[in-house]
């Protein structure tokens, strides 16, 4: 603080300190936004790029999300595509099986209201909005089991909507895949 004797000097000092702080604040925000841009581009962790639709009225009749097409599918390039739907108050399939160390594309939608899907112990987290397809590229490091709750209020049975993800090693997965076109771990 400056002395009271010269108010104009005091005012100039106050304004200078204030400008410095404002500059620092802008720099802090700039660094944070810059970090998000860098991680988005460099680590390719970005939201889904485009809007894709799926009609919940005909999900079970035709198209990608018919029941026989749900679960894990092997792609020609060695990656895995998991297709799932959420409905009041369960997922189909209720238990998803995926290989570790393999690129997995998760494609999911809702058959009725808004649901969500989060896989505990990972940063896999997406909304399922009826009418739209959510797509998420994911990869699991190690075999294990994860809880997969619905994270969005979807009605009075919401608290019971828990699915499961079972990560198995790649050889086991390929063995399971040999006998089936679409895979899940629903017993």
């Amino acid at each position: 603080m400056t002395t009271e004797s010269d108010p104009h000097l005091g005012e100039a000092v106050a304004a200078r300190i204030e400008r410095r702080w404002a500059t620092l604040s802008i720099a802090i925000v700039g660094v944070l936004v810059g970090m998000a841009i860098f991680i988005g581009i460099d680590h390719a962790t970005m939201p889904q790029g485009h809007v894709e639709t799926a009609d919940p009225k005909t999900l079970h009749l035709a198209g990608e999300f018919i029941e026989s097409n749900l679960g894990s599918a092997m792609e020609a390039d060695g990656s895995v595509t998991v297709r799932a739907i959420g409905q009041q108050y369960s997922f189909t399939p209720q238990c998803i099986v995926v290989p570790s160390g393999t690129p997995v594309t998760l494609r999911a939608t809702s058959a009725d209201v808004v649901h969500g899907l989060l896989i505990e112990g990972t940063n896999i987290n997406t909304m399922l909005v009826p009418g739209y397809v959510s797509e998420l590229p994911v990869q699991f490091k190690a075999p294990g089991e994860h809880a997969m709750p619905c994270q969005e209020f979807c009605g009075i049975g919401h608290q019971g909507m828990w699915g499961k993800v079972k990560v198995v090693d790649k050889a086991t997965f390929l063995g399971m895949m040999a006998s089936q076109r679409r895979l899940s771990c629903v017993d």
Partner: protein, 541 residues
């Protein structure tokens, strides 16, 4: 000069009664979903309660505080009686009746859709009609604030608009425009379905409209708190405001950048592309600026007050602050909670970090810490500061007030820190109960139990708050004098037009909203196949 004291008191009393009821529901919710509850109960009751708690705390309580405080500011800062008193009472009546109309279907289980609506679930139409009445009532207040300011400006062309009034009108404009998002959602998407005129709804589009309201509404809640920081706190502790211009810049920044950022609530949604999510993320970063500026100005103002009282040293001045003063204590505790909550907010705004905590208990912890903590504790402070001027009776029990404020702070920390932690573990929010015997969930049980204790502490603090106010209504009469706001250290000789008017900023507010929302909304309006069947909620359907 406070003329319409009954009008102002009516707003504050109704606000706090609504708050008290919603607080009881909140504490009950925390208990029944915790491992401390060994009894079975109907989960539908939980969602009813959450709908009531959220609607009351989100739409009614802060709106009434902003309105009542706004009228108090108009009369005391402009030093003339409020113009449009009858309209103000009409607005109050609309809010009160709207709240009752909305809560009847909620309490009988016909609208358990939570305060965020969640179409395609659709509840009883009266719930939405009640919410619209509350918003329309508050729009009357918005208009009154604007009218009172412009008449005063015409009468006082040479004088700068007092800071408190400038900030108050900024908050009213912000609310007026941000409420439009939810209003469009209710009127054009939800109500036609609730009334049975339509049977399908675009859930994705509805979420986009709601996000327009959902984030800026938080800044609407925040504005009375910031007004208290800038215009009550320095005066209450015997100091001066460090900078008048910086205060105006902060409020202007809120008006301009609070709206075009709401899509950070939709980071995990499929109906918006990556580009606009990125835009909204960047703007969310910008909205941290006014808060950083405010923290500096308020701490600097505290330092001025302390040095005037003989405080010295680089940090020693903190000790010389008047800590026995409830306003001092409330502001300090509020800033601490704002610090933690703000840091959490910076995590939420970045897509990559948000992915691990989106829709978990972390988010519940985040907004309870910011709103319930940093913001509401200053609502208490505003009431304590204003009460003697409204009732003509002194509030004398500073010890009780400090105990109440400390308990609120401790309760908030004990509630929200465990929530943040279990959120990182992946605990989903908005669930009536959890199977704590499940090995995937059992590690979260202890933290949830601790947070329930926090809820109990908050309830006790709430009771103390009412004790203070009710005792204040019964205390002996004393003249509190004119209600005044802080004076800046250096009264600016002239204020640039830009910092004394709103035209440019309102144009930017609307323009940026159109830029950041226009394309996503247009794109979804064109997509016809995304209308999905509504799912009606409630027993009678």
């Amino acid at each position: 000069m406070l003329i319409n004291k009954r009008l102002i008191l009516a707003h504050f009393w109704l606000a706090f009664v609504v708050f008290g009821l919603a607080l009881i529901l909140g504490a009950w919710q925390m208990f029944v979903r915790s491992p401390l509850n060994a009894w079975h109960f109907n989960p539908e009751l939980y969602y009813r309660s959450v709908t009531a708690h959220g609607s009351a705390m989100g739409y009614v309580f802060p709106t009434l505080i902003a309105m009542g405080f706004g009228y108090a500011i108009t009369e005391s800062a402009l030093e003339k009686p409020l113009i449009g008193t009858r309209w103000a009472w009409a607005g109050f009546a609309l809010v009160a009746v709207g709240a009752v109309v909305a809560m009847i279907p909620v309490s009988i289980g016909l609208a358990s859709v939570l305060y965020t609506f969640y179409p395609p679930m659709v509840g009883n139409p009266f719930y939405y009609i009640g919410v619209v009445m509350v918003v329309v009532g508050s729009w009357i207040w918005v208009a009154l604030m604007s009218i009172n300011l412009s008449i005063w400006k015409r009468e006082n062309p040479e004088r700068p608009v007092p800071l408190a009034m400038f900030a108050n009108v900024a908050g009213s404009y912000l609310w007026g425009w941000t409420a439009v998002g939810a209003a469009l959602e209710i009127i054009f998407l939800i109500l036609p379905v609730a009334l049975g005129l339509k049977s399908t709804i675009d859930a994705g589009l509805a979420r986009v409209f709601f996000s327009w309201t959902l984030h800026a509404i938080v800044y609407f809640w925040l504005i009375p708190t910031y007004i208290a920081y800038y215009t009550i706190f320095p005066r209450a502790i015997g100091g001066r405001l460090y900078s008048d211009a910086m205060a105006r810049i902060s409020f202007i920044l809120f008006v301009v950048v609070a709206m075009p950022i709401g899509m950070h609530h939709l980071f995990a949604d499929p109906q918006v592309g990556a580009g606009f999510k990125f835009m909204h993320s960047v703007f969310t970063g910008l909205v941290a600026l006014p808060t950083l500026l405010t923290v500096f100005t308020i701490c600097a103002s505290a330092e001025i007050a302390s040095r005037l009282r003989g405080g010295s040293g680089a940090f020693g001045w903190v000790r010389a602050l008047p800590w026995q003063n409830p306003i001092m204590l409330a502001t300090a505790l509020s800033l601490v909670m704002l610090g933690f909550g703000g840091a959490g907010g910076l995590i939420n705004m970045s897509y990559q970090l948000d992915a691990s905590i989106h829709n978990t208990q972390w988010i519940t912890g985040h907004f309870h810490l910011i709103f319930g903590g940093a913001i509401v504790i200053m609502y208490f402070a505003i009431a304590y500061d204003l009460w003697p001027h409204l009732t003509g009776r002194a509030l004398e029990n500073f010890g009780l007030m400090r105990a109440q404020l400390w308990l609120w702070f401790i309760g908030m920390i004990v509630t929200t820190f465990p929530w943040h932690y279990v959120g990182i573990l992946g605990m989903p929010r908005r669930m009536a109960f959890y199977d704590y015997a499940n090995p995937a969930i059992s590690p979260q049980a202890f933290s949830v139990a601790i947070s329930t204790v926090g809820g109990l502490i908050l309830l006790i603090s709430g009771v103390l708050f009412f004790v203070v106010l009710i005792r204040g209504q019964m205390a002996h009469r004393s003249e509190a004098g004119a209600y005044r706001f802080s004076v800046p250290v250096h009264m600016p000789e002239r204020i640039p037009v830009a910092l004394n008017s709103f035209g440019l900023w309102l144009a930017l507010m609307v323009g940026l909203t159109v830029v950041n929302y226009g394309y996503p909304i247009g794109q979804l309006l064109v997509l016809k196949e995304t209308n999905v069947p509504a799912v009606y909620v409630g027993a009678s359907r």
